[in-house]
Structure formats: structure tokens, C-alpha cells
């Protein structure tokens, strides 16, 4: 019997084995054989979104550049020296890049050389076909048309390994926004890449679309972005800050739109394009003196200086410790505690009311006001926290929530801080008196200064400052008013004082024909550590202003490092910016020339010369 049906049995057994094997090949879900040689995926990138300024001027567009790509598994032996000569990369470097790409994947394309210009490409195209596994891929890179506002616009760069892991969208060699608007609005600007599937044959040649292109995913178009920046004003402000360190922030108070944001010295976005990118980036990074990659308008924390007196005046009025007629006598300063004298540039015996106190920037007046605010409460802690809450309602001591990733919080001291330092309530208004004139522990950034000025200009509220006006012609709504803790009626008297500052006070240089400018100067003592020795440097020059005082259209905050008097650099620069914005052309050419041509470089070099130096010349 066995002999008769031997073949039948064996056939049955074999068929069963085959069926099981086929089931494991074709039905098991984790079949490792599914890595598909036959289908090639090619990403289709939408053109990166354009960036315009508030008036529709094109700031950022795209230009074609070429990448040299390698698919390691397609390469055959070739002469490395010949190729390195051809593409202008050192042999060692070329070998390193090739081995990197092999380590990454032998099947996936890797970039050997990026940013090959149109001209080079024409030359390379004729030769590169000789090297199997290499090809040139057209790419679109950024074209920064205007060399201004680079600190706002930022730049793009090749996506990093960590970004590939965290974002779960990018592949090696793709571009991503690295800084500024390019980074913050990356998702809008990049769109969504599509995928095209191609059928390959066994020689890895593409022989046509796969599955009639049915599976292809179309790319989603990128969005264009319109900034709130006025590029003409930005350009003008940047020219005024030539050879100076500092920042300028200009805000439209009725919307919170940032018209200009200057940080000097700065970089140009174009430095991040093309083959010199790496070199340029290193240079910028290594410049530890000028710190061009550091945005002084957003990241630099300075003592606010005298503009703080305005806030103290407002708090004094709100807390009912002073009114517009309150007067204090200044004796060229005053003893705020035993053996503790705070100097003031006002003459001995000057009697100031609030307005005069503001326009003459009397230290004594605001020290006394500050003392009264704090002393109104039972404990200094309670007093200080009340004061600090008022200050914070102006957006100080915290990020403002604008649409860039960089920034600093600044610092507003609260009772906790002093309790830790001196012990529970073992301090008082006298101990913290420097806060009254914006010198003590308080730290602010230029954009915060501009923002609180905006709140004053609006008589009690501000809009969150922001950089983007429209995304694809759709307005970015930003209608939330942020109210300060100061009542509307308390502002008028203070604003009158600020108008006087420009009219007859410390900043007469900022006066503009036919426009009521309200402002406040600041001159800020500052120190540096040189070989563990605290040394005083020339004062910082600062100025906050808005105009026209009665119906403000523009708010300016200027900060010039080591510029000495607020009226020497900051006030003229702010004034010129206001004039430029409101009148479109500047009549005071002499002032403009002085600002544009003025340089503080010698001032900045002082501490690096290892010699004794004099300050405040």
C-alpha cells in the first residue's frame, strides 16, 4: 500500500509545506522582504514661501542652486582624485563625505556638495554622467533680496540630525528654517512636500511612474508671509546704527506691529547661502566682541535707566501717593538713608513738581516717590510686590509672546528676591531705592522698553508686539488689548511731562518741527569685569519716545551701548526715525549725518586694550 501511494503522500506533504511557506511569505505582516527595490520615492518640494514687508516689497525669494547627490549602492569604482578636482572638494573631505553617506544608507541619496551655482552646474553637468551613482539635483535656495532686517528674517540651513528625529518630517539634506521668521514660520513657509513613486528596473533605472501615479501625493503649496516690518524704515534705522552697538525697536502702538527691529552689529541672511556658508557662520560665531548673532533688541538685558521714572510716576499716581502738584526739593541729590546719598544733576534747591521732575529727570523726585509707594504698605514686601505688579502689567519681566523664538525675560525684583538676599523684611524702600531710577536690579530688553512705551502712548494698554501681518493675504488677527494696572486718567499728566522732555528738558535735540514728540532719556551706569575687577564703562545711552503725543502713530525705543548721555545718541536716532516715518523725509540732514557717520568703535575697544581708560568723555 505504501508503495502504491508513496508519490501521492509525498506530493501532499510537499504541497502542505509549500503552502505554509507561502503563507509566511505572503500573509505575515512583518515580512522583512518588503523593503522594495522596485519602487523609488522622490520627494517633490513646494517652492518655499516668499516674504514681503508691510508695504508689499519683496524681501525674500528663491533662486536655483544645485546639489551633487550620491546613491552609494549605484556607484562603481571611480577615480576619487579626478572627481575631487572636478567638484573642487579636497580628496580627504570627499572620501569622508562618501563614507558618511555609506554609513547613513547605501540606498538613500546623500548630498556630497551643496549650493552649486548655476554656472558651475553647467560645467559639471557635462562630466558628472561619467560617474555612476552621482547626479546633480536642482534645488531652490533662498534669495535674500534686501540685505536688511536679517535679524528678523533669519536664515535657513540643512536640517540637523536632531531636527530629523524630533520633527519626523525631514530627510537628510533638506532645508529648514534655522533662525528668525524662517524658523518661527517654518511650517507655513515650507508647505508640505509631496511624494512621487517611480517604478525602477533591476539596474535601478527609473522606467516610469509606479501604479499610474495613483499613489503620488501632491505637495501642499507654501504660504507667503507679509511682515509688519517697514523695510525702508528698517534700512534707515540700520544706517543710523552703523559703527555702534545697540538696538532699535519701533512699534505701531495702535496695533502692536513691529515696524523696525535693529540689532547692531548684525549679520546678513545672504551670508548663510552658498558654499561660504560654513566659513561665514564660523566667523560670525567666533566674533565674541561684536556678537553679530546676538539680537540686542530681543536678547540684551540692560538696566532701563531713567525711562523707569515714567513708570514710577504712573505707579505713584495710581497708588495716590503723589498727584500732579506734588513737589519735592532737590539738593543736587538727597540722603535716602544715613550716609547714603543719591546724586542728581539738578541744581541745589530745585523745587520740582511732577512735570518738571520728568523733564529734568530729577533722581530725587522719583526716589522719594518710590519710597512713598513702598512705605504706603505695612511691610516693604507688600509694598514692593504691589509696585512690581504694576511694573509687570506693562509686560516687563516676562517674554512678550512675539513671534520669534529668541528673547530674554528681563528681571523685575520682588520681595522674595530681597528676602533671600537680606532676610525676611530686613530691607526697605531705601535698600532698593535704585529701582526708582531704573538702575538697581531691574533688567529690561529694548523690545520691552518699546512695549511699555507703547502702553503709555495708548494710555493704558498695549497689543502684543509681533512681526507678521499677513499669512497668504489673511490678516493675522491680534486684537487682544493687554491692559496695564494704571487708570487711563493718570497717563495724561505723565505724557505732558514726556512732551516737555523733548520741548524743554533733557532731549531737546529730539524736537521735530510740527510734531509733538513725547520721550524720556536715559543714561545708564554699567560695569564690566576685567580680570575679576569690576570696572565702570561709559554710560549707555537710551531713549524712549512716541509721536505724535496726542494720537501716537509710532513708538521708538533706542539703546546705544556706551553712548553716554541719552541725548547724545539715542534721542537723536529716535527722533530721526520718527521724522522719517511720519514725514517720509528728514529735514535735519546735519543731525542725520552726525548719527550715520558717528562711531563708538574707540569706546568699545577701551576695555580690550588692557590699559587704564577714562569713561564718559
Amino acid at each position: 500500500m505504501l508503495k502504491k501511494y508513496l508519490l501521492i503522500w509525498i506530493t501532499m506533504i510537499c504541497s502542505t509545506i509549500f503552502i505554509f511557506k507561502l503563507a509566511s511569505l505572503q500573509l505575515s505582516s512583518n515580512s522583512y522582504f518588503n523593503s522594495d527595490f522596485a519602487i523609488q520615492e522622490i520627494s517633490v518640494y513646494p517652492e518655499r514661501g516668499l516674504i514681503f514687508d508691510r508695504n508689499g516689497q519683496l524681501l525674500v525669494a528663491n533662486q536655483p542652486m544645485y546639489d551633487l547627490i550620491i546613491i552609494p549602492e549605484n556607484t562603481i569604482e571611480f577615480d576619487t582624485i579626478e572627481l575631487s578636482n572636478l567638484i573642487g572638494i579636497e580628496k580627504k573631505e570627499l572620501k569622508r563625505k562618501i563614507s558618511n553617506s555609506v554609513n547613513y544608507s547605501t540606498k538613500i541619496p546623500s548630498i556630497i556638495k551643496t549650493q552649486i551655482s548655476k554656472e558651475e552646474n553647467a560645467f559639471l553637468q557635462e562630466k558628472i554622467w561619467l560617474y555612476d551613482g552621482f547626479y546633480l539635483k536642482k534645488n531652490s535656495v533662498r534669495d535674500y533680496i534686501k540685505p536688511f532686517a536679517s535679524n528678523v528674517i533669519g536664515y535657513t540651513g540643512e536640517v540637523s540630525q536632531s531636527e530629523i528625529y524630533t520633527e519626523n518630517y525631514y530627510e537628510k539634506g533638506e532645508m529648514i528654517g534655522k533662525q528668525g521668521i524662517e524658523k518661527y514660520y517654518e511650517k507655513e513657509l515650507r508647505g508640505i512636500k509631496g511624494i512621487k513613486y517611480f517604478q525602477k528596473d533591476r539596474f535601478n533605472r527609473v522606467i516610469g511612474p509606479y501604479n499610474n501615479s495613483d499613489d503620488n501625493e501632491d505637495p501642499t503649496k507654501a504660504k507667503n508671509i507679509t511682515l509688519t516690518i517697514d523695510i525702508e524704515l528698517q534700512k534707515y534705522a540700520e544706517s543710523l546704527l552703523k559703527n555702534k552697538k545697540g538696538g532699535v525697536v519701533v512699534i505701531e502702538p495702535s496695533t502692536g506691529e513691529i515696524l523696525t527691529l535693529v540689532s547692531a552689529p548684525t549679520y546678513e541672511s545672504n551670508q548663510f547661502i552658498g558654499q561660504d556658508r560654513t566659513n561665514n557662520f564660523q566667523k560670525l560665531l567666533n566674533d565674541s566682541i561684536n556678537k553679530p548673532l546676538f539680537d540686542r533688541s530681543l536678547q540684551a538685558q540692560y538696566s532701563p535707566g531713567s525711562p523707569m521714572k515714567i513708570l514710577n510716576a504712573l505707579i505713584g499716581l495710581q497708588e495716590d501717593v503723589i498727584d500732579e502738584n506734588t513737589t519735592f526739593t532737590c539738593n543736587g541729590g538727597h540722603y535716602y538713608a544715613k550716609n547714603a546719598f543719591m546724586g542728581c544733576h539738578n541744581k541745589v534747591g530745585t523745587i520740582s513738581d511732577l512735570r518738571k521732575g520728568i523733564y529734568n529727570s530729577c533722581n530725587t523726585y522719583f526716589a522719594k516717590t518710590y519710597k512713598m509707594i513702598l512705605d504706603k504698605y505695612e511691610t516693604p514686601s507688600e509694598g514692593l510686590d504691589t509696585w512690581a505688579n504694576h511694573i509687570k502689567s506693562f509686560g516687563l519681566g516676562d517674554y512678550l509672546g512675539y513671534d520669534l523664538f529668541i528673547g530674554k525675560k528681563g528681571f523685575i525684583p520682588e520681595s522674595d528676591y530681597y528676602n533671600k538676599f537680606y532676610g525676611e523684611n530686613r530691607w526697605g524702600s531705601s535698600t532698593t531705592i535704585s529701582n526708582s531710577i531704573g538702575q538697581g536690579e531691574i533688567l529690561t530688553t529694548p523690545i520691552q522698553m518699546a512695549n511699555f512705551t507703547s502702553a503709555i502712548a495708548n494710555r493704558g494698554f498695549y497689543y502684543k508686539p509681533h512681526f507678521v501681518k499677513k499669512i497668504n493675504n489673511e490678516s493675522v488677527s491680534n486684537s487682544d488689548k493687554v491692559f496695564t494696572s494704571i487708570d487711563k486718567e493718570n497717563f495724561e499728566i505723565v505724557i505732558n511731562g514726556m512732551v516737555d522732555v523733548v520741548d524743554k528738558g533733557t532731549a531737546r535735540v529730539a524736537k521735530i518741527n510740527g510734531i509733538n514728540v513725547a520721550g524720556k532719556t536715559g543714561t545708564i551706569e554699567n560695569f564690566i569685569l576685567i580680570e575679576n575687577e569690576k570696572k565702570q564703562l561709559t554710560d549707555h545711552s537710551t531713549f524712549i519716545a512716541f509721536a505724535p503725543a496726542e494720537d501716537p502713530e509710532i513708538v521708538v525705543s533706542v539703546f546705544i551701548e556706551n553712548g553716554y548721555w541719552g541725548s547724545r545718541w539715542a534721542a537723536p536716532i529716535a527722533s530721526l526715525i520718527i521724522e522719517k516715518y511720519l514725514k517720509d523725509n528728514v529735514e535735519r540732514k546735519w543731525l542725520e549725518n552726525r548719527m550715520v557717520n558717528g562711531s563708538l568703535q574707540s569706546e568699545y575697544e577701551k576695555p580690550f586694550k588692557f590699559k587704564n581708560f577714562t569713561i564718559n568723555e
Binding site: 505504501l2 508503495k3 502504491k4 501511494y5 508513496l6 508519490l7 501521492i8 509525498i10 506530493t11 501532499m12 510537499c14 504541497s15 509545506i17 509549500f18 503552502i19 511557506k21 507561502l22 503563507a23 511569505l25 505572503q26 500573509l27 515580512s31 522582504f33 518588503n34 523593503s35 522594495d36 527595490f37 522596485a38 519602487i39 517604478q199 525602477k200 528596473d201 533591476r202 522606467i207 516610469g208 509606479y210 501604479n211
Partner: protein
């Protein structure tokens, strides 16, 4: 003259045959498809040629169906003789393709006498075994049977086409059926095991294992009633050691590197998906790519990309796997199983010895092709280039298997007649 009555014939087998052939044509079309393809009857194209051979097969169908089965009995020796002559003269007039001189070129048609030899050997073996005097207990007759089978094997091995030669081992099944002592079969099994053992391990270790095995076997059998003499044990051991030694020698000295690679790959000594394992790996990718329902006709990416070498011939099963999925492969396997078991089963109902043995021969041949070809496509058997009957591209193969099938139909329809 027989009157033609459809119901006389094994219709289930006939339908299976028809479906497999049509399925074959469809898959050959897909495997060889490219855009410049024009008409399917254009004989310069692969499918065109296959269809011409199919038509030729249909002509033989009519001839064979109306031939008396006695006729095949008579001409079997002559056919066998002719086929041996054809195999011999290949060395003189043969055309070399893919490294083997196994083709005759007659005008535009190329013909593979190896295929013809399968048919002739089946007929002649059936003829010899059905002779009333033949007795497989006589060593003389066993020797003749061995000669009948080994002659084509040797001639084909020297073409060299060892894969096709291997197919002739299928005849061991009918010979066993006709009374060859099962011990030959077991001995054969031990022989093959020794062979594989030598390849996987090495010569010395295999000899030690064999020695221990035989001593144990001898000690075990000593207590039983019937005893085999020590000399026979010793002789068997010597033969097996000889096999082990010659395997080792053949493997190292006679086989070429490509053969060694193939064997190493299948016994798991090497894994190499880019070099020699490429064929099998690509075939497995294509098959697994098909999942349950397949990618659809002309839609298989592996097939379209021509990733699987010889996909329209030896690896046709990978096309089925990719484009028709598990559905397709399962049905193909079931049809083959049905066909082989049915033929083998119905052979047992034959009264006439010649016919019965022939049917067994045919079923065995079908089985060995089915086993090796599909086994190779899914990576269970070494890569051996033989076609999948009825399905693979190849005129000689299609024609000869069709003829063999029609002869089966003829024999089956007259199974109750003694003539």
C-alpha cells in the same frame, strides 16, 4: 478507429491542464511585458512563441487522442533509442545557451532534446518494467532499469545541465512501485543524507558519525531474528564512506565556484542576497510583495522592473506570487497537487501494466518539476533551472509535457482495455 466521446476522458485533469496553460500564458505575458510590445501573435515575442507551441501541442492532442495505446507500447524502444541519439549528437551539433550545449536550432525554432528524453525514458521504462519476464528481485533487471535511467542522466549531466539530469531521478518512484525493494529506497535516503552531511559538516566528521551509526545499527539488529551478515554492513559502510569521500572530492575539485555557492547558500552556510542569492531573494521579495490578493495583472513592481532573472522561465512562480498573491499561488499549488495525485491515483486503476507504469512515470516527472521549481522560487530548494510544467515559458517543455499529458488521457480513457 475510436469514436470521439468527451466523457470518456479524465475531464477534471483536462480542465486543470487547460487552466494551468492559460494561466501560464498570462504570466509569461506579464513577465516579459514591456512598452514596445505590439501583437501577441507576433512570433518574435515571447508570448507569441509560446502560443505557437501551444497550437502545435493542440495538433498533437488530436493525433494522440486518435492513436491506439498499443502503438506507444510498440514504438517506446525506438523513441528511447532516438532520444539517446539526439542527446549524443548534441555534443556535435548542439547550440550552447547559458553555458550548456543542450539545444538544436532548426530554423527559427530551438528544441531541447532533454525534454524529449523525459517522454521517451518514461515510455521505455514503462515498456521494460511491463515485460512479463522482468523481475526487480533479479539484479540483472535492476541493472537494466538503472541503465535506462542513468544513460540520459549521464548524457545530460555532461551538457552540462545537472539540473535537468536530476529530474530523471523521479523515475525511482515508478520503479519502487513496481517492486524494487524498499531497502534500495532507504539506502538511497541514507546516501543522500550522507551527501548533505558531508557538505554541511566535513568528511572526517561524517565518517565518524556514519561509523557510530552503523555499529549501533548492527548491535540493535543482532538481537532480531533475521540477521544481515557483518560483511554486508561493512560493505554498506565502505560504500557510504566512499560516497562521502567522493562528494567531498567532487565538491572541492570538480564543481565550479558558482555551483559551490549555490549549494552553500541552500544548506545555510552562506547568506548573500546581492550575489548568488540574488535570484532567490528577488523571487522571494516578489512573492511576498503579492500579499493576499496580489498587485494585479501587469502591476507587480518587481515583475515590471524585471528584478527576478529568468522570470518568464524558471522563476515564473514569482510572477504568480506577486501579481496574483497568495490566492494565485495557493490555487496553482492545489491544481498541481490535484493533477499529480489524480494521475497517480487513476494509474492504479489501470489493468494494463505498461499504461499504469507510464502514468506513474508521468506523475513522478510532474511532481519533481513541481517540487524543485516552486521550492526554488520560495527558497526551500537550491536554485536549479528547470521549468514549471505547463506554465513556464519554453516551447519544448510545453510541447513535451502536453504530449505526455495527452498520452495519459489516451491511456486513461482506455484503462479497462487490455490492449
Amino acid at each position: 478507429m475510436n469514436s470521439f466521446n468527451v466523457l470518456k476522458y479524465d475531464l477534471i485533469s483536462l480542465i486543470s491542464y487547460t487552466l494551468l496553460v492559460i494561466f501560464g500564458i498570462i504570466n509569461i505575458y506579464s513577465s516579459s511585458y514591456n512598452e514596445s510590445f505590439t501583437s501577441i501573435f507576433d512570433n518574435s515575442t515571447i508570448v507569441g512563441k509560446q502560443i505557437i507551441f501551444l497550437i502545435a501541442s493542440l495538433v498533437t492532442f488530436i493525433i494522440i487522442i486518435f492513436t491506439k495505446s498499443k502503438f506507444f507500447d510498440r514504438i517506446a524502444p525506438i523513441l528511447y533509442f532516438i532520444s539517446i541519439i539526439l542527446l549524443l549528437s548534441l555534443f556535435l551539433f548542439g547550440v550552447e545557451r547559458g553555458g550548456a550545449k543542450s539545444w538544436y536550432l532548426i530554423g527559427p525554432i530551438s528544441f531541447q532534446p532533454t525534454e524529449f528524453a523525459k517522454l521517451c525514458t518514461a515510455l521505455f521504462l514503462a515498456k521494460f518494467l511491463s515485460i512479463i519476464q522482468t523481475d526487480l528481485n533479479k539484479s540483472r533487471d535492476v541493472f537494466i532499469v538503472g541503465l535506462i535511467i542513468l544513460t540520459p542522466i549521464i548524457l545530460i549531466t555532461f551538457q552540462p545541465d545537472p539540473g535537468s539530469a536530476l529530474v530523471f531521478l523521479a523515475f525511482i518512484f515508478p520503479v519502487l512501485r513496481e517492486g524494487l525493494d524498499l531497502r534500495f529506497f532507504y539506502f538511497g535516503l541514507i546516501l543522500i543524507s550522507t551527501l548533505v552531511l558531508t557538505l554541511i559538516l566535513d568528511f572526517t566528521i561524517s565518517v565518524i558519525i556514519l561509523f557510530i551509526l552503523f555499529v549501533l545499527l548492527y548491535l540493535y539488529n543482532r538481537q532480531k531474528k533475521f540477521k544481515i551478515s557483518v560483511i554486508k554492513y561493512f560493505l554498506s559502510l565502505v560504500i557510504l564512506i566512499g560516497v562521502s569521500f567522493s562528494t567531498n572530492y567532487l565538491f572541492e575539485n570538480v564543481l565550479e565556484q558558482r555551483h559551490r555557492d549555490r549549494i552553500n547558500l541552500i544548506i545555510g552556510k552562506e547568506v548573500d542576497n546581492r550575489g548568488i542569492g540574488y535570484n532567490t531573494n528577488q523571487s522571494k521579495i516578489a512573492i511576498s510583495n503579492g500579499r493576499l490578493f496580489g498587485t494585479g495583472f501587469l502591476e507587480g513592481p518587481q515583475t515590471k522592473g524585471h528584478f527576478v532573472p529568468r522570470q518568464h522561465t524558471d522563476y515564473i512562480f514569482s510572477t504568480i506570487g506577486e501579481e496574483w498573491g497568495f490566492r494565485g499561488t495557493l490555487i496553482t499549488i492545489l491544481f498541481f497537487t490535484l493533477l499529480i495525485t489524480r494521475i497517480s491515483f487513476r494509474a492504479e486503476k489501470q489493468v494494463n501494466h505498461f499504461k499504469r507504469i507510464y502514468c506513474h512515470c508521468f506523475a513522478s516527472l510532474l511532481f519533481i518539476h513541481f517540487f524543485i521549481n516552486i521550492g526554488m522560487s520560495i527558497g526551500l530548494v537550491p536554485s536549479i533551472g528547470i521549468p514549471l510544467p505547463f506554465i513556464s515559458y519554453g516551447g519544448s517543455s510545453l510541447l513535451i509535457f502536453s504530449v505526455m499529458f495527452f498520452i495519459y488521457l489516451n491511456f486513461d480513457s482506455s484503462r479497462l482495455k487490455e490492449d
